[in-house]
Amino acid sequence: MVISGLLVNTLPEKLDQVKKELSGIRGVEINSVVDDYRIVVVMEAESVEREIAVSNHIAGMDGVLSVNLAYHNFEEEGKTCN
């Protein structure tokens, strides 16, 4: 299990749409929204590969300006989550 904290910057008018899309991705939790356009996201995944793929996917979403990584823990990569 790997865990990361991300900051997703959106176009304010697309915020709700992006939030909806994010909530459909397995392992992605919306923690909060700051300044009406920045979404604090916590992601759990089984591998770094999946984290990279998901974050790239988010970066490619309509209305997303950028996805940045604040925190990344991979001490338990390869172990399953309970």
Partner: protein, 785 residues
């Protein structure tokens, strides 16, 4: 995973992201100050291993392994955030195929060897070549990813020891054109401004730079500024629509090479519509005209066209002559060449010139990898100098860098074929200065510049260079027209050494492969694009017998009899070779506009921007009130040009010139190469996640929809791309993230599969002034297979 640990880590992740967004996490009562981790993680700082932005990373180590990373909240560059390439930091050191032992070619295969055996072999082959063929027969090709002391040690070894100037870095492929133009304009290299400019600029110009993907943290600073201030505008100029263009307010799509005409036409509008800052120009600007008809560094029937040893001849002209020169570049004329509507050129020139707005220009490879790269850099400086929008918060030309220490090591240490840590080898005073610091007999340093990147490969191919040591880069994939040079490296009588942490397209050609300690497996220092020098300490051990490049250089030097170059009383330097080298290196910049702080200072701070004078860093150079080298009353002072123009910056008269190869009947399309986010490390990473169908497992060919339709090509089809040099077979992507203009195709250069290597195709022409190759333009043909 224990639930409590998992909960803790999730809270820490949320707290880190929240605090990076400016929310104080104490108020929210969240646990997660990463420094107080009960899980036993020890945190240390380092600059990021990837791009030249130089973000701070906190590295979490547990049981001798890196287990976590965090954007460094104390770093002024990135304020707690990394881009998503930060995920790769978890992987770069722990790939299964890490090299752990030296390898020597024996009977056609590679056999493991001891360090002694490998180092003795290198030393004896280099010594033998020196004895028989002289210093021009030995070479080293280094890197903008070297630490500062590795580059410094390499310079001392090659120039002070072997008396050769055949030392060049891969940074020659990356920003040599920016360097040459900075030198010719300001007499000193590197941007005058700093990243603080992002929070002051009103208008951003990105010139052929896809910052959204290549410099994401800086791009976030740009978009943050736009979010907060509604008047802020962003103009993107390029040859394809990228993720950066899609968030810009104005997109200018020009035909390859015609940026030269567009920039001149903008200058024309600035002049004819009265946007010139007359006072600034009359006090601080001089006008220069060089040769107008330049070679392209091509070999024609085995003969160089004159690019290899080309030197420009500059003459001084006046403002009136410059005005006459640009008057030819009417918006209409530039429009005919570039395809940009004339009205658009006028519109962006007015936006640029608006005296009420601060203007920041940003660029990287699009301008630098250009057979007239120095010229296009000049043409952008010209706009800033005409309007006086330079050297102050929010105003300035800012060239970004692709490698973490392209500035700190390649440019500042000067690991180029003509450079010394201060000045150039051609200058007797500069040689004498280096000889004094290096304690060498006068006359030791060779006055003749060595082979630069492309010419180095040509000399190795011809056999003029017998021994080549490639360090910290992948030369035999990165070279343009690479097939020719790969064949050259395999010829009899060539001795190739490659130091790398991983097997690459270069190690496979080597006679000796040395396993290298990377990033935080050793102590290091990098310098980023805003002149910020940053240090880190060793955090973990390298695997197997891997050793740092620094150790490798010194060990070979010792075995060749140059040990005295690296003899220091280490007791004076806390036992650290790195400190001894840095303290010596610092002498070169002192009082010369490149003052650095003492070694120990950098261990504590999150980097400092040079010149560091009286303990204080410099945010904007050449400007009174910010730069300690500018006296009261001077306003601006371009002291790099003190001797030549009395401290004025130069506006250069640079015309439009066509590229050496253009589409024709046989090869009707433009080919542009570059990078995409996913392929920085490995395209296969995204391939294994079936639920996300947008993954791109390999290099692809990005096409314009009309071009594809004309050739009957759909997304996913296999296509063959051919140029006069070679071919690749790729899958086509139409209307993907990059949308090339009609007539242009784009492919990323990352893929190392030999049938998909971009440099099978590229042309090995280069800018004759900077000697930087053009990876952005050649003619190709595409067909469905």
């Amino acid at each position: 995973m224990q639930l409590s640990r998992r909960k803790f880590l999730k809270a820490a992740a949320a707290a880190a992201a929240l605090s990076a967004a400016g929310v104080s996490t104490d108020i929210l009562g969240l646990a997660g100050d990463a420094g107080a981790d009960p899980g036993g993680i020890r945190w240390t700082k380092a600059p990021c291993r990837f791009c030249g932005t130089g973000c701070g990373v906190m590295i979490g180590v547990k049981n001798g392994r890196i287990v976590a990373t965090r954007g460094d909240p104390q770093s002024p560059v990135n304020r707690g955030l990394n881009c998503i390439k930060g995920y790769f930091l978890a992987k770069i050191q722990y790939g299964k195929d890490r090299l752990t032992m030296p390898l020597i070619r024996k009977n056609g295969g590679m056999a493991e060897a001891s360090w002694d055996e490998a180092l003795d072999l290198i030393a004896s082959r280099y010594s033998e070549a020196l004895d028989r063929y002289g210093p021009e027969s030995v070479a080293m090709f280094g890197s903008g990813q070297w630490t500062i002391w590795e580059g410094y040690a390499a310079s001392k070894f090659v120039k002070g020891g072997m008396r050769s100037n055949n030392l060049d870095p891969n940074a020659r492929f990356c920003m040599a054109s920016a360097v040459a133009a900075f030198m010719r304009t300001f007499g000193k290299d590197e941007p005058m401004g700093c990243y603080d400019d992002f929070e002051y600029a009103d208008t951003f110009f990105t010139w052929g730079a896809n910052m959204a993907e290549m410099h994401p943290i800086l791009y976030s600073r740009l978009t943050d500024r736009k979010m907060k201030f509604i008047h802020v505008r962003h103009v993107d100029l390029g040859t394809q629509v990228t993720r950066t263009s899609s968030s810009a307010d104005i997109m200018i799509l020009f035909k390859p090479q015609t940026d030269l005409a567009v920039a001149n036409a903008m200058a024309n509008v600035l002049i004819s519509e009265g946007y010139v800052n007359e006072e600034f120009v009359s006090r601080h600007v001089a006008f220069k005209k060089g040769l107008q008809d330049l070679p392209y560094g091509l070999e024609i029937n085995g003969k160089n066209d004159g690019g290899a040893g080309f030197r420009d001849k500059a003459g001084t002209v006046d403002f009136e002559e410059y005005k006459r020169f640009v008057s030819k570049y009417t918006p209409e004329y530039a429009s005919r060449l570039s395809g940009v509507p004339a009205g658009k050129i006028v519109e962006i020139a007015r936006l640029f010139g608006d005296p009420a707005r601060k203007t920041l220009s940003l660029w990287t490879m699009g301008m630098n990898q250009h057979t007239r790269g120095v010229w296009i850099n000049h043409l952008v400086y010209n706009l800033h100098l005409l309007t006086g929008k330079i050297s102050g918060p929010g105003n300035g030309p800012f060239s970004l860098t692709g490698q973490p220490s392209a500035c700190g090591t390649a440019r500042e240490v000067g690991t180029f074929a003509h450079r010394l840590p201060r000045g150039v080898v051609m200058n007797p005073a500069h040689r004498a200065f280096a000889e004094k610091i290096w304690k060498l007999p006068p006359g030791t340093i060779n006055p003749k510049p060595g082979y630069h990147s492309v010419e180095m490969a040509r000399a190795f191919d011809r056999g003029d260079i017998k021994c080549l040591w490639v360090m910290c880069n992948n030369y035999f994939q990165a070279l343009p027209n690479v097939l020719r040079y790969r064949a050259g490296a395999k010829k009899e009588g060539r001795f190739l050494v490659v130091s790398d942490p991983y097997p690459t397209r270069s190690t496979e050609l080597a006679d000796v492969v040395l396993p290298t300690a990377m990033w935080v497996e050793k102590a290091g220092a990098y310098g980023n694009a805003e002149r910020r020098t940053q240090f880190w300490e060793k955090a973990v051990d390298p695997p197997g017998e891997s050793k740092s490049d620094l150790w490798q250089i010194i060990e070979v030097a010792k075995r060749m009899g140059y040990g005295r170059l690296f003899e220091y009383n280490l007791a004076e330097y806390d036992g650290k070779m790195e400190k001894a080298l840095f303290e010596e290196y610092r002498k070169f910049g002192k009082g010369a506009g490149k003052d650095l702080a003492p070694f120990d200072v950098y261990s504590k701070v999150r980097g400092l921007r040079w010149p560091v004078v009286d303990g204080k860093e410099t945010l904007w150079r050449y400007r009174e009130g910010y730069d300690p080298y500018v006296k009261k009353g001077q306003g601006f002072y371009f002291y790099g040009n003190k001797k030549k123009t009395g401290g004025r910056a130069n506006i250069w008269l640079c015309p439009y010139a066509p590229p050496p190869e253009q589409p024709d009947k046989e090869y009707p399309l433009w080919l542009c190469t570059g990078r995409v986010l996913e392929h920085w490390h490995s395209g296969t990473m995204t391939q294994r996640v079936p639920e996300l169908h947008r993954a791109v497992p390999e290099a692809f060919l990005s096409m314009n929809a009309d071009d594809a339709a004309g050739l009957g090509i759909k997304t996913g089809d296999r296509v063959r791309v051919r140029t006069r040099r070679g071919e690749v077979t790729l899958r086509a992507v139409i209307d993907g993230r990059n949308k090339p203009q009609k007539g242009l195709v784009f492919m990323p250069w990352f893929d190392e599969e030999t049938t998909r290597m971009a440099n099978n195709l590229t042309l090995d022409a280069y800018d004759p002034i900077s000697k930087q190759a053009d990876f952005k333009k050649c003619a190709c043909r595409v067909e469905k297979v």
